[in-house]
Amino acid sequence: MPSAQNSAGIQTLLDAEREASKIVQKAREYRTKRVKEARDEAKKEIEAYRAEKEAEFKNIQHTQGNKAAETEADKEAVTKIAEIKEAGKKSQEKVIKDLLAAVFEINPHPHES
């Protein structure tokens, strides 16, 4: 048997197998890497989305609006109260007279029974 040739043939095969194994191994490592990349990229996109939503939310916030509304309402109240005092000064006397008239001017009449 030409053993030298045989062992050379076997060696080549073994080398080929080793190379093949490396190729597959590389593919497997690629797969692992891709899984990690999926998580990392997802995380980035999620953060970006969250930041966008937060900015959107901040824009709609109206805490300043509340303060303005309060000062506005306060002004309105002061105006209305001044109006009431004015109305009082103007009509007070007449109203008092009318009240007193209601007390003193009586129109008694019999019941219909």
């Binding site: 093949a20 997802a42 309402a73 309105e76 009431i84 007070q92 009240l99 007390v103 003193f104």
Partner: protein
Amino acid sequence: MTAFIKQEAEEKAREIEIKANEEFAIEKSKLVRQETDAIDSTYQKKFKQATMSQQIARSTVANKTRLRVLGARQVLLDDIFEAAQQRLGAASKDAARYEKILTNLILEGFYALNEPTLQVRARKADYKLVAKALEAAAKEYEAKVGKPITGTIDEENSVADGSAGGVVIVGFGGKIDIDNTFEARLNLLRQSALPAMREALFGQNPNRKFFD
């Protein structure tokens, strides 16, 4: 032979790579979808809360304002009634006028109670005038109703001297009394006069829908 082995390996590697990319896409989109949904619902809630607290704040402010204005109106009304109360005593100063008022007050009581005998309570200082008023009232009653009526002064129970005037007409053996003193009449007005006063002072209410 070696080429075959290599080719097999490369095919397998390709399969693995394709699978890896598919899994990448699926996993990534699943994670993103899950989290963005959660974020969406969180922000929806946040937004709702913010809107609600804003509405609450607005409503509270509007309410406070309204109460301030109503309070001011009430103060004015109280002042007016106070002033009127002070001036109640004026009527009893003019004897002729006062007698006429007393007659009418007693008549009101007569018409309301419709009994043949009634008692009348008054300030001690008014007894003389009240006696005259009783006569006049009894005459008028008989003329209008056709039945006689006698009113007597209840000297055991008099109206307080501090009162501004007026009378109390008592019937049914003392069980029913009609308080026609000036203070009592003004007190009734505290309620019944409010709509008219409101209109006279502040004008009509533009929001009012029912007038009966």
